[in-house]
């Protein structure tokens, strides 16, 4: 058996995993885990001013990549597929247009891409990546909330034990941590803007929790 870590691209293509498109095309209406909350109507009818702005980035493609951060060929392949390098420093992220990569652990990254591009990108990974790696489409398992506004840090402080001061949590930093007794992967995308990747099964609970926690600041839902 050949060494999985030292296979050529052709050898690894021969062992290629069966890949199928798990995301329905545009002809089928996708429903996010917060479909029942009808955020689109709340955005139209709800308040237009408040300290917290919430928007669901629904139906994105979530790809979990596990590979070897010391394998230069794999790092180059990721760059060929996404046009941006894997963030190798702990707790950092990189992005290229609609593609963004989050450091999750020393050998794991979460890649978010537009939902309908997911299968193309998966297929490209299967063609480009050499050696031993894993790429899993976890799009159905989580959703993304974008929180912003002048009180966003006050709100997050109620939910998570991480230090949110911009000195220790600068723009671009990513942490996986506890969030309101659930868990979330939090990325700072602006001084007063954060992105939360949350579990599908906790999304309704967190939606209720966020409404309650933002009562004192005023919650504006954006479509």
């Amino acid at each position: 058996m050949s060494d999985l870590n030292n296979m050529t691209a052709a050898e690894s293509a021969a062992t290629k995993a069966a890949v199928m498109n798990q995301v329905p095309g545009p002809e089928i209406e996708g429903q996010s885990p917060l479909h029942h909350a009808d955020l689109a109507s709340l955005a139209k009818q709800g308040p237009k001013t408040g300290g917290i702005h919430l928007r669901e980035q629904k139906l994105l493609g979530h790809l979990t990549l596990r590979c070897n951060a010391e394998n230069a060929e794999q790092l180059a392949a990721v760059e060929r597929v996404l046009g941006v390098a894997l963030p190798l420093q702990p707790l950092t992220s990189t992005e290229n247009g609609n593609y963004s990569i989050r450091w999750m652990s020393p050998d794991e990254w979460l890649i978010l891409v537009p939902g309908l591009e997911t299968f193309d990108i998966e297929t490209k990974f299967r063609d480009e990546m050499p050696g031993h790696y894993s790429l899993v489409n976890s799009s159905g398992g989580s959703t993304v909330l974008e929180l912003s506004g002048e009180n966003v840090v006050d709100l997050l402080k109620k939910a998570t034990p991480v230090d949110l001061h911009s000195k220790s949590f600068p723009v671009g930093k990513v942490v996986s941590t506890l969030f309101a007794k659930s868990t979330a992967t939090i990325r700072r995308t602006g001084e007063q803007r954060f992105e939360l990747v949350i579990r599908r099964s906790f999304s309704d609970y967190l939606w209720l929790w966020l409404q309650d926690a933002s009562l004192e600041f005023g919650l504006v839902v954006e479509a």
């Binding site: 702990p90 652990s105 020393p106 942490v175």
Partner: protein, 94 residues
């Protein structure tokens, strides 16, 4: 509440994010079939319970989900050091 340094995330986090997974450096017998019942039983069930320095396995459960080792004083709760799996402790009991 312990403030724990995760050697993978390279920063301090609250204890809530971690779980202790028991004693560290327990080597699985290379040939389990050749073990006596006593040797196998001790490997599976018997653990140290020192008063003082203890080497423990911890996992950053809500963070990077990686395991690492910690040397901790069970009496004062002071964390002496954390080190990655495969490394040896530099602080050991006399």
């Amino acid at each position: 509440m312990l403030h724990i340094y995760c050697p993978h995330c390279a920063e301090y986090r609250e204890e809530d994010e971690f779980h202790c997974a028991g004693q560290a450096h327990i080597a699985r017998p290379l040939d389990p079939e050749a073990c006596s019942d006593q040797e196998w039983g001790e490997y599976l069930f018997f653990r140290k319970n020192p008063r003082g320095l203890h080497h423990e396995l911890w996992v950053h459960a809500a963070g990077c989900r990686k395991f690492f080792n910690m040397t901790r004083d069970t009496q004062s709760y002071e964390i002496k050091e954390v080190y990655k799996i495969g490394e040896q402790p530099s602080v050991v009991a006399e």
